[in-house]
Amino acid sequence: MKFGIMINEGPYNHQAADSAYQFAKAALEKGHEIFRVFFYHDGVNNATRLAVPPQDDRNVTKMWQELAEAHKLDLVVCIAAAQRRGILDADEAKRQGKDADNIASGFRISGLGQLIEAGIQADRLLVFGD
């Protein structure tokens, strides 16, 4: 079965990203497909490569990167939500005249249409948020 997942909150402040990760991992291990993981609202903050969580805690961004690497996941960050909150890739940084970018590898920035498409293509869409 094909799943779509939407994540509405950033890592650490809320459990949403952790729950979504555990769900995605279980689904993949059972042989299901994840059509796309879409990061919206503060969820875009999952996609920064600049976070340095404490040594004795999990690294949520890295967890997503490794899961994506192993299963060719499509991790999509909403461009409008990301711009509001300061998550940029190199192209966006250039276009906006910013001197740095912070997106982690494995994530890509795109439009809200990608969320609707996930709703259409996936057999089930699950939302994790606050």
């Binding site: 079965m1 799943f3 509405n8 459990q15 949403a16 729950s19 555990q22 769900f23 991992k25 279980a26 689904a27 291990e29 059972k30 299901h32 057999d123 089930r124 869409l125 699950l126 939302v127 994790f128 948020g129 606050d130």
Partner: protein, 102 residues
């Protein structure tokens, strides 16, 4: 169509769970996750409401979230079924759609 409703908020802090119970149709299932799992405990001010909904809805609670919060299986209201993340995945497949109450 049978729907899976997930609730991730404490029923003592927010009205989320109450709204879910008001709007979930007979035959639906409710899965408590994250801080939502506290509502599954016996002897709370929320317990009566759940007991009276047990006839029309099926109630599940996510075990890993119970464990994290120190809730033992014997502290649960009778009728709650404990699932892990695999069970969560299965539930989302067995139902026709999933509604997250946020």
């Amino acid at each position: 169509m049978a729907m899976l409703h997930t609730v991730n908020k404490s029923s003592f802090d927010r009205n989320t769970f109450e709204s879910c119970l008001r709007l979930a149709k007979e035959g639906s299932s409710v899965l408590l996750i994250e801080d939502g799992v506290y509502a599954a405990m016996k002897n709370t001010t929320a317990a009566e409401q759940i007991n009276s909904a047990m006839g029309t809805l099926t109630f599940y609670v996510l075990g890993p979230d119970m464990d994290a919060r120190g809730i033992k299986a014997d502290a649960l209201i009778d009728g709650f079924k404990i699932v892990d993340y695999n069970g969560f995945v299965d539930l989302s497949i067995e139902h026709d759609s999933v509604q997250s109450w946020l």
